[in-house]
Symmetry: C2
Subunit: 208 residues, 2 copies
């Protein structure tokens, strides 16, 4: 039996003569990990092995580190948003990302319960937090940050804009609703505050 690693990170298939592809193992492992997280239990190798039915060796081959496994599991269902067209209305495009397709900017594309679990886990483990930040959150910021840079180049936005700080302020307002106020993204009051805050921030970003 030969083991062939797929070139894409984090995913692997073993193939043997006459055997079906067993990509399914990745899903079994991720799904077991999410079950453990949702049950508010600590994710351990033993628990993942026992819930997924996948061998310890196969688990280690796919995810040599539990931290990576947990960040990948937490990221299920999330995608990097599409690039924002630089021709359209930039303000509307960002507001749409914020309040419409909220998955893009604000990390709330998955269920709120999963979001709360993610925050709980990362606040308990800074290494996991940093790993999740680098491998997932930072990547999802790129399309909006690129759009802001395009806005600077086209003269709509201030030349001296700190694009990272703009993103932090916009997304931070959303996090504040969920992490501090304990409100939901579907609450009208939250949506009103988010829109009002974005309005302020946008005004502050405009070239004079």
């Amino acid at each position: 039996m030969t083991a062939i690693l797929r070139p894409d990170a984090g995913a692997a298939v073993r193939r043997g003569p006459g055997r079906p592809r067993d990509d399914g193992l990745d899903d079994q492992i991720i799904s077991a990990t999410l079950d453990i997280i949702d049950a508010e239990e600590e994710v351990t190798v033993s628990r993942v092995v026992s819930r997924s039915g996948v061998s310890r060796a196969a688990l280690y081959r796919r995810w040599p580190s539990l931290t990576t496994l947990i960040t990948d599991a937490l990221d299920v269902g999330r995608t990097v948003p599409s690039p924002i067209s630089s021709n359209g209305d930039l303000r509307q495009a960002i507001l749409g990302m914020l309040l419409g397709d909220s998955s893009s900017v604000t990390e709330f594309g998955y269920s709120e319960e999963r979001f709360r679990q993610r925050i709980r886990l990362v606040m308990a483990d800074r290494e996991l937090q940093k790993a999740y930040w680098h491998s997932h959150v930072a990547r999802r910021r790129v399309p909006m940050e690129q759009a802001l840079h395009a806005g600077i180049d086209s003269g709509i936005l201030r030349r001296d804009l700190n694009v990272e700080a703009c993103f932090d302020a916009i997304a931070g307002t959303v996090y504040y609703q969920l992490v501090v106020r304990g409100d939901r993204m579907t609450d009208d009051a939250s949506r009103t505050r988010i829109a009002a805050a974005f309005d302020l921030i946008w005004r502050g970003m405009l070239a004079v």
Copy 2:
């Protein structure tokens, strides 16, 4: 033996003839609760009783609800900030609160570890989150919100300002550093982003 409740909320003393005041019990209970939180154990009545050495009856008399006990414990060391003078430089006063005496606006007056524990606990329990918000966070917002209203009245800030949204954007930027990026308030990069974000938000708040 008679039990006399002090008029101030959450604190009680029992006095008996010839017995010393036992105010100390409140501190013992709070301190035991913080020990349990810091040990990342679940706060239960049994654990508080056993760690504090205070009787179950005395505990219930002082804190009929565990939620209130936990919010009071998490609030130890925090104070409501002083009013901001409406005569001085409002921009500087807020920036000072943010980056200097950060306890006032941003909830980080206590150790970062305690802050991380607090977020962990409230994300696991929305009732606790709402209780902490109403009894503690919302009160600490008042001085800055009053200063912003004074800024509107004096004509510095826009008449149509959503003061709550301003606060959420400013404090949200700070939370983003700690909750999403996993950075520390003492990191230069974080402080630079917070100052830049505040600059944007302030510009957006100004009357035109």
